[in-house]
Symmetry: C2
Subunit: 355 residues, 2 copies
Amino acid sequence: MARRYVSIKEVAARAGVSFQTASKVLNGGNVRVSAETATRIMAVAKSLGYRPNTIARSLVRRTTGTIGLIASDATDVAISHFSVSVEQAARRRGYAVLVGHLAADGADGADIVRMLIERRVDGVIAAAPQVEDDSEVAQLLRTYVPAVSLHHVPGGQVPVVGSNQGETGRLATEHLISHGHRLIGSVTGPFRRRVVRSRLRGYEATLLAHDMEPHEDLVVEADWTPGGAAAATRLLLERVPETTAIFVHNDAMAIGVLSEVAATGRRVPADVAVVSCDDMPFAEYLTPALSTVRVPLGATGERAVDLLLQSITGTAVSAEPLLLPVELINRSSCGCADPAAGGRMTRRPHDEMTR
Amino acid sequence: MARRYVSIKEVAARAGVSFQTASKVLNGGNVRVSAETATRIMAVAKSLGYRPNTIARSLVRRTTGTIGLIASDATDVAISHFSVSVEQAARRRGYAVLVGHLAADGADGADIVRMLIERRVDGVIAAAPQVEDDSEVAQLLRTYVPAVSLHHVPGGQVPVVGSNQGETGRLATEHLISHGHRLIGSVTGPFRRRVVRSRLRGYEATLLAHDMEPHEDLVVEADWTPGGAAAATRLLLERVPETTAIFVHNDAMAIGVLSEVAATGRRVPADVAVVSCDDMPFAEYLTPALSTVRVPLGATGERAVDLLLQSITGTAVSAEPLLLPVELINRSSCGCADPAAGGRMTRRPHDEMTR
DNA sequence: GGTTCTTGAGCGAACGTTCGTTCAGACGGA
DNA sequence: TCCGTCTGAACGAACGTTCGCTCAAGAACC
């Protein structure tokens, strides 16, 4: 360790040219340099192990080639999947990612913002529901740099990418209804979140479309965690013991729902059917295998990066949310699979995990 | 968006002092400046919304206040938990984190290394098993900057933090033996990984200590994923159908194990007991609740950062691995809980609901 | 009243680049 | 022979800081 970096001046000196000439060559554009000096410079640079100093470059170019990623604390598996795809997509396009994990209560938002601004990121991607509450982070996204968010930012001018949440609620509910369920409960994320409200709207609209009356006793708020979901499920089954199906707002909570349903002596899907959202890799291996609406997290990350880079390079970006399509994956927990078959239905081919 | 940053010169001009004086004041140390000019400068800086330009600062200071985090692709939930704690610990200490997610096959290692070097990170933390194979990444860790790794880096001089893996294997195995099991299988991570070999050594040593002969049919290699673990479990139960207990190498795989054991018509823990490693938040909500050896990921992240910063500031750091203690968490899957009680035993206090 | 200290502030240089302009020489055409 | 053009390379300035040195003026001392 502790290796000294060689500067472009040393390369130039050893090659017998001015450092500005070396700079031209090393930056690719062979403008106005003879082929032989160019190759000579390249050779010297290579032999000396020259590594361009992005810091100096950034100073004069006034862009850093770095974007910020504000992720919520990432107890949420889905967000960490999104983050990975953002980083990889950004790197493929020549950008580096500076990451900040927002505490659950958003208390360190100001710190993260300061860090990103002082490091002069070219843009920011936010994957933290907390931005919906007005805060330093929301302020940053609106005013300092180009930004793209997974969640709606108050004020409205920040482009949003995501998936069609209303459709998500509709798909899940429609499917449960097609299995003959009439008392369909829901274990949701926090009500104040837009995702949650959109999914709930899809759920309610679908009930109404089938002449079923939504009832508030059937909808219980939770906090995206298995523990919160277990508690919510207990409450739901106490309030409406006749419930025969539950629409859960993410796969992590589905684990808690499955657990609690079992704890009350009911069986999934025989007594209570379950459909969730996300389709995390573990979903198909839960017992029973989880039916869930697949949210294209990887693709969303890529689109977020594309949108941000467009916005950085000055292309106008529509503030209209960019919604990617979702897809219902039927496994066993909804009642689709033959119970005798042992539970699993759609199994993904092992290598086809698109990311 | 697109906000222009104000420089220290503008602040100085408005305050009627030289920019170097403003610099002194803004850097905290009130060295040799009268209280009144100091407060005047501060006031102007604040009113103008001055944000120090870390880029310029880094150029002259020759340190960036940024560390690199090389994480494997993070299909592994545990690694993403570790990453979060690293970032938060680093930020608390004034450092920012530039992250690179290594593809499973390590193919983009060179890209990540280039990104980190060119951005002149002050140090690197690696949380990617791939560093055990010699590669560009291993090379970076050894030669370019101070580094700390979660995994052993060939060559040996890179400090390692982690937990006591032998003890992990011992605790799990000992506990299963205490329940009376004699045919204890194991579904492991890839054999070529040190973690895996250490855990296996703990497992075998414990068997031997109880006069039981380890048998290779009982140990099946998997790939840390639920799917791989399900396949491995199928193989294990075909080879040794009398198996009554399984030691699994992480919680994600435990999901697959639970699934496959059920698929063969066996019950957990009645027919086959299961103990795993990690203790991810979902573990206690699996059905049955998972008994698992808790690996202190959060603490490990903090220690990694501390060690790295020591190494950056020149304090000698021992190459001896720093091992944090692990702890067995007994729930139901090992057979500890009264089955009639519905399965759950240790339940963590419910976290606040702020997301 | 002269010398030394102390305090407050200014100033030059440097960090490693990029970018646009300038310059020296070779070559060609009239 | 002279001028214009073109090519290859050098050069100056700037990006926004930090850091150490210098310096003026007043205070303190003998």
